[in-house]
Subunit: 571 residues, 2 copies
């Protein structure tokens, strides 16, 4: 968090319930008292002015949202349910105060933040429960189903696909099951490189328990600081070092899920041929098959050496081709990432004076590149990560840099990589900064075969620009390629614009244009954020109507009473 | 097939139907006219005598089974169904002759072979259809479901889990859908390393279409010569080079499945977060979700260099520890395999005079090892495969051989590896050789965490030996470790004994003891053969009763009429 500073006036709201579970701000990302600032980033304000037309020197930030001004609908939980849940988890761990209920209503998508700040709360959970352990979760599931209530599992609350929001048409009581107290690494099988970890453990808590024993899970999504193992599994998350450690679907070997009929247990083995994979049904199930209580995951010895190098490419095509060539080679870096020219501009603009890129610029590197004939408006920044024994790291770097050079790129050292590594979890704070100034941004990601990557990149940007024209706003969109696989990669887009009269409708136009372009150009609705409600309309494009029918059949057969987070992924 | 010779008197049976699809022998493995022989393997007969008490010099092989002696139940297909299927695929592609129906009744497990040789045919498919293409498959599905018939997809017929056998209680007409005519590579996306391949293509047909264009699928299961892409997907197959290329679940990116409601299509992308994975539900579905017509699979450029080196370890523990150390290292061989002392003995005994191991022995290697203090009864043979650029192969080999040496192993060159590579698809022929002489053998495989591997190895052997004692037969069991993963590996057991009075009951005792030991000692019922009916009783141990209920729910919801290969995996 090196790039963030405490606010001078911390929020007066405390979101800590009786149970010792800390939550993010009810109105934004991260912990109270920390926010993005740009005073030490001289190029940031001009960049924002140019990108979306917002003058940061003139814009007065909004007052911090006032929780007291919200009109929170009363809980409809009947006393019998409340009592049954109190028997399940203890009196103090059943909460119905408004703050707790609002904290558990939404995730952190742009739509979520706009709605919660505006007090748009048509339906909130009626009760929030904090079970202490797996048995407690099972008792909650049993009690809620017996009372014909609806269960919505809650991890870190970082979801941006709408997976957490109550169905507004739901007339039965809704119980949010907060897994925050299930935060322990239960066991490390050192001989196998497997760890049993409770589902509610946040990223930092997992590493804090693994690292002292010499292990890491190697899973570092952007949301790492505020997302949980259970949430990663439930949404098929992917972390920044996935090229080496795999997506969470690869990392997760065993699972335990509290279901209405009892515990579902998948034995942790490296691979199995035991019919349609129940493990891969729970992965991505977003609460619809039950409440994940525990996973047995692959863990790795902390590598002797870990380093991220930065490279510049003269343009996007050169950069994406280099990433593919690396994926096709015998080399196995931990991170392969290249930003397009727009995102490269953004990175340069968020760099501090006399640090990172500014230092590079001062060294005259850009003058040299210009003299070599590079169009600096097309410059693309890439990060490649290496991990392992020092000799392996050296060999891998040598092999990668041959490929980089063959694609016209040049190495710019570890300085920017160090900055990237320190700043990688900070981006979501920037969104609150923009929201405070009347602008909104969000992200959309897809995956596609290598043969589609360049067309997809250009086509999505064109689709977003067309959407901006339609809503009459000056907008921004930028992209990076990350998570390389043999046959393709993930493209990750970030977009932002200053709101007009109807933020949600404007957002819908842009977001829909981006998602539809994913489909039209060979991608899928999501690479690692999930379906929820935000992406559900594009699910048939990825897996066909018959595929959706198969998932609907699965949910209908295993949850005929629709108690398990209904209306997510499919109706 | 270097190690096999044509029989002097080829079978008089032709299994070729009007449609140009060739099948294996109705009574055994492989094509008519090819069989195992041991005349040039002087150590084989003494080995067999010692292992199971069978005197090959005295044993008179049985007569080749006489198809005419079988009592094949008449087809119960009504004319209306026959006519509807004829409209779907053409008159000549609907078959009801006894030979075709018997060929499609069983796979090639020991139980299957014993039953078919004995004419134990309580239920056989009533019709066999040979659709020419995907549309034909869809028309077959539609026609069969409309007529309330049952569909059993058939690829190469190599299954050993009972996935092909008709439910003996089935009173409706049963249609075997032979995919043999869907044998083409439809398209190669060279930019992405993806190929669209029809489900009925056999291993050699796939490579024959890919290789001339410079590509390989890299999937080489033991059954390669007689198994199909669709069958690999339907059973979650794994090939010998899986350490490099992945299991079929990793290789398969896109899928097309003919279902009663129409085509299910999973878009081919490298990774996706689109709810519970429909791709991973079709994988391992054994026909219960529909008929797989096509898969889009990862293909790789044929490596510049490919070599298999052999190593000896002083004992099993040293060998398995070395395999784990390789898996934990930064090195990525294509094959990691180590045989236990028993399987090593078998390999040495099946080696030809003056070739491979015999040559090694003649060179005095064993004398040297004995002098070094090795107990040659504990000797374990290992194969490690390397693929890639010559420089990478050299680096990998160097790194692996450091690990081998650290575990007390020594390299014995490429000679045995060449033999292994040539003989790797021949083992199933040996089973017919034994059956012809009143002995039976089969295989069982599992996967488990590294922490369980040695205990599992020893425990399964003890369980089999106890089973042999119980049935009063002198029996043999041997094992190799293959398919290494970060957290564990596959153990592959082969067992054999001379039949007593009740071959099937005796087989059941041994097979069940092996499978139960898998479960008791931390493994799963199957690593890559599937569940079918043979392994169904142990499915709850791997995924719990709730997991089985989830799969049952999936099948019940998506095939309420039970038309799709019912009673496989679950009831």
């Amino acid at each position: 968090m090196t790039d963030l500073a405490p606010l001078s006036t911390p929020s007066g709201e405390s979101t800590t319930p009786a149970a010792p579970v800390e939550h993010m701000k009810w109105w934004g990302w991260g912990v109270p008292g920390v926010a993005f600032h740009h005073e030490d980033k001289p190029e940031f304000a001009p960049f924002v002015k140019n990108a979306v037309g917002l003058d940061l020197h003139a814009a007065q930030p909004l007052e911090q949202p006032d929780f007291g001004a919200l009109d929170v609908p009363a809980s409809i939980a009947p006393d019998a349910l409340r009592e049954a849940l109190a028997r399940a988890v203890g009196e103090g761990n059943v909460r119905d105060d408004d703050l707790d209920r609002v904290v558990h209503t939404y995730g952190k998508s742009l739509r979520d933040l706009v709605r919660v700040r505006a007090g748009d709360l048509p339906r909130v959970p009626d009760l929030v429960v904090y079970p202490a352990d797996e048995d407690g979760v099972q008792r909650v599931v049993d009690a809620a189903v017996a009372a014909d209530a609806v269960l919505i599992p809650f991890g870190g609350g970082s979801n941006i696909a709408g997976s957490l929001q109550p169905d507004t048409a739901e007339t039965r009581p809704i119980v949010s099951v907060d897994l925050g107290r299930l935060d322990r690494v239960l066991d490390i099988d050192e001989a196998a490189g497997l760890a049993r970890i409770q589902a509610g453990a946040l990223g930092p808590a997992i590493e804090a328990q693994l690292n002292p024993r010499g292990w890491t899970i190697g899973h570092f999504p952007d949301s790492f600081t505020h997302s949980t193992l259970g949430g990663w599994v439930a949404t098929r998350s992917s972390g920044m070092q996935s090229d080496k450690y795999g997506d969470i679907a690869d990392i997760t070997r065993g699972l335990r899920v509290a279901r209405p009929g009892g515990m579902l247990e998948v034995r942790a083995v490296p691979s199995a041929s035991t019919g349609p994979s129940v493990r891969e049904m729970v992965l991505g199930s977003e609460g619809r098959l039950g409440v994940i209580t525990e996973a047995t995951v692959q863990v790795h010895r902390i590598p002797a050496k870990r380093v991220i190098h930065a490279y510049f490419f003269p343009n996007w095509k050169a950069g994406s081709a280099a990433m593919q060539a690396i994926a096709a080679s015998d080399v196995h870096p931990s991170v392969t990432r290249v930003s397009d020219a727009r995102e490269t501009g953004f990175s340069l603009a968020t760099s501090k004076e006399r640090r990172g890129f500014s230092a590079l610029a001062q060294k005259g590197l850009f003058t040299v590149l210009r003299k070599r004939g590079w169009d600096l408006d097309q410059l693309c920044l890439s990060f490649i990560g290496y991990e392992g024994e020092p000799s392996t790291v050296a060999e891998q770097r040598k092999a990668v840099e041959r490929i980089v050079k063959a694609h016209g790129g040049i190495g710019v050292g570890t300085g920017p990589g160090v900055l990237y590594d320190q700043k990688k979890f900070d981006t979501p704070y920037l969104r609150d900064f923009l929201l405070d100034r009347g602008a909104g941004g969000d992200v959309s990601e897809t995956a596609a075969p290598w043969s589609r990557i360049d067309g997809l990149h250009d086509g999505v940007i064109a689709a977003a620009e067309d959407a901006y024209r339609r809503i009459g706003r000056k907008g921004w969109i930028m992209c990076h390629l990350s998570h390389s696989y043999h046959s393709g990669a993930c493209l990750y887009f970030t977009f932002a614009f200053v709101f007009g009269d109807d933020p949600i409708a404007e957002y819908d136009t842009v977001k829909s244009a981006v998602q539809q372009a994913f489909i039209d150009l060979g991608g899928v609705p999501s690479h690692h954020h999930g379906i929820g409600v935000e992406h559900a309309q594009w699910l048939p494009d990825a897996i066909s109507g018959q595929g959706v029918a198969v998932i609907e059949g699965l949910f209908a057969a295993t949850d005929p009473g629709r108690h398990l987070n209904p209306a997510k992924i499919t109706r």
